[in-house]
Amino acid sequence: MTSLVQAIIDGLMVGGVYAVISIGLTLVFGVLGIVNFAQAEFLMLGMYIAYFAWAALGLDPLAGAFLAFGIVFALGYGLQRTIIQRVLKAPAVSQVFLTVGLLIVMENGALLAFGSQIRSVTTAYQTKSLQIGPFFVSLPYLAAFLMSIASGVSLWWVLNRSWLGMAIRATAIDPMAGRLIGINIDRVMAIAFGLGVGLTAFGGAVVLPYLSVFPTAGSQFVVLMFTVAVLGGLGSVAGAVVGGLAVGVITSVSALMFPIQLQNLVLFLVFIAILALRPDGLMGRA
């Protein structure tokens, strides 16, 4: 029983991070209508930025996360304007190939630029944990969780309380109508893409205190992100939060019962079951 509760606590902690990286994916889909297979590569990029910020400037990855967000936001904005924009009206399959191509380019670009060695940071709080009764909350998990929640709340505020957020939501609902009432759709879409990949990079940076970075670090998150996004309903930001926490708990609890290699298998099966039973996500269209 104790181990089950412990697993649920751990699951919620990592689930918060899953939520933030998947919000990026779901935001890109919701506003631009494309499934970005390269999304997880931006997570890897965020990890590298935070790593080098730590190695060169001595910046804690939690502070480096803001740097990662800023750099990747700019990169995403540029990518959308130059490349992604051209396939927005193309068939789904062209979009898949474009983003898969981007995935390959980014992964191998990282290999060329940074080499294949595994890098990790050392921080003072890395191995510490809080004890609450019989349970432990690992400090790096908690920090990543809190940072993720904070960024999720900020995004919620932007989407619901600012003019930009309204423009983004209007574009998601009907780009044509948005253009008619004077929204610069192209710019809004580029900002949404930048925000989406930036948030994922932010999530990559905050997990750096307990994970290592290497060129294929993103690939282990691909299934996870898609499961979270589909679980919550592709395009729904609130759904991604619920989905993220759920997937965190599912993976953490299933690790108690199955060998580690089969953890992904459980995710895949959940993923296929959700697609089959509730294609719009557990919460329906949001």
């Binding site: 789904a92 898949v96 992964e107 992904n264 697609l275």
Partner: protein, 329 residues
């Protein structure tokens, strides 16, 4: 293309190996291209005719490779029989996959099929006692013979793959011209309208998926026999198989008879040459080039090569026509 042109094309394809070294590098690339053209044609039944972008065909491909190879290793059963067994299993797998994914559209269908193939990859990597795990399997070589589907010359494999491509293409043509083809097109153009005029859309899609999955599994056996070695990632991999097959058909021209061949003849050699030229430069460079090419193809020629070739042919024949009329006047 007319019957006569097709016949000439096949004759030409039969003669090509005579000009090449029987065990050389070029014939190996062509052999691989023919195999992928056949895979593309099998995918075309689902992706082209039914309009469903499957990104999970690696599941069937790997199933075929593992089935025949395991039967050969443990029981000494000829790969011909193993191929049939793989075909049956591939058909069953395609049927099972259809049940949850049939109602899905576009992105969701692509994602669901992708996840399905990944399930197989994870199982093959984990269930080491059966599959050998990440280490992979080697096909035992006894002696070169048609009965055991093993040869010591690549040239023989070339003819094997050519025959496979022609066979799958014939099945494709039969489907296109038959009842199933009309129904599939009806389903693709307007599923609701098809349902109204009495087409059982679910059943039609399942039929197409089962045929396509079964053929893909059988081609998996041929791949195992050609390569003599494979591991879970090479036969169940999303990038290596599923996406590559779909890419080949889309580049060549989706839903067309010669699209898969055109696509395979472009993509496979391109990959090979990129590999050879760039592999020893720096790790990742050849893959990087491949990814960049993929992006370039999508951005420059989204309608596929077949469309491009058609336009070109129209322009040439248009010129011939106009010069004829000029000559007449």
């Amino acid at each position: 293309m007319t019957m006569r042109q097709t016949f000439l094309l096949i004759c030409f394809a039969t003669l090509i190996p005579l000009a090449l070294e029987p065990n050389g590098y070029y014939i190996r690339i062509l052999t691989l291209a023919l195999l992928f053209a056949a895979l593309g044609q099998a995918w075309n039944i689902v992706g082209g005719l039914a309009g469903q972008m499957s990104l999970g065909h690696a599941a069937f491909f790997g199933l075929g490779a593992y089935t025949s190879t395991l039967l050969l290793i443990h029981f000494g059963i000829s790969p011909w029989i193993g191929m049939l067994a793989g075909g049956v299993l591939g058909g069953i797998a395609a049927f099972l996959l259809s049940l949850p994914t049939m109602r899905l559209k576009g992105h969701y269908f692509a994602l669901g099929t992708l996840a399905f193939a990944e399930v197989f990859r994870v199982i093959a990597n984990t269930w080491s006692s059966l599959t050998g795990g990440p280490v992979g399997l080697s096909v035992p070589f006894s002696e070169p013979s048609l009965a055991m589907l093993q040869f010591n010359e690549t040239r023989s494999y070339y003819y094997l793959m050519l025959a496979a491509f022609v066979a799958v293409s014939m099945i494709f043509v039969i489907i296109v011209q038959g009842r199933l083809g009309y129904r599939l097109r009806a389903v693709k153009e307007g599923p609701d309208a098809a349902e109204v005029i009495g087409v059982n859309t679910t059943r039609v899609k399942i039929h197409a998926a089962v045929i396509s999955g079964s053929l893909t599994a059988m081609l998996g056996t041929l791949y195992a026999q050609l390569n003599f070695f494979f591991d879970p990632d090479t036969v169940f991999g999303a990038l290596q198989i599923s996406i590559r097959i779909a890419l080949i058909v889309i580049v060549g021209g989706i839903g067309t008879l010669f699209g898969p061949l055109l696509g395979a003849l472009l993509i496979i050699p391109l990959e090979e040459f990129a590999n050879v030229m760039l592999a020893d430069r720096a790790a990742g460079l050849s893959q990087l080039t491949y990814g960049a090419l993929l992006m370039a193809i999508v951005l420059l020629q989204p309608q596929g090569l077949a469309e491009f070739a058609k336009k070109l042919a129209a322009r040439i024949s248009g010129k011939v026509m106009s010069s004829k009329t000029e000559a007449r006047t």
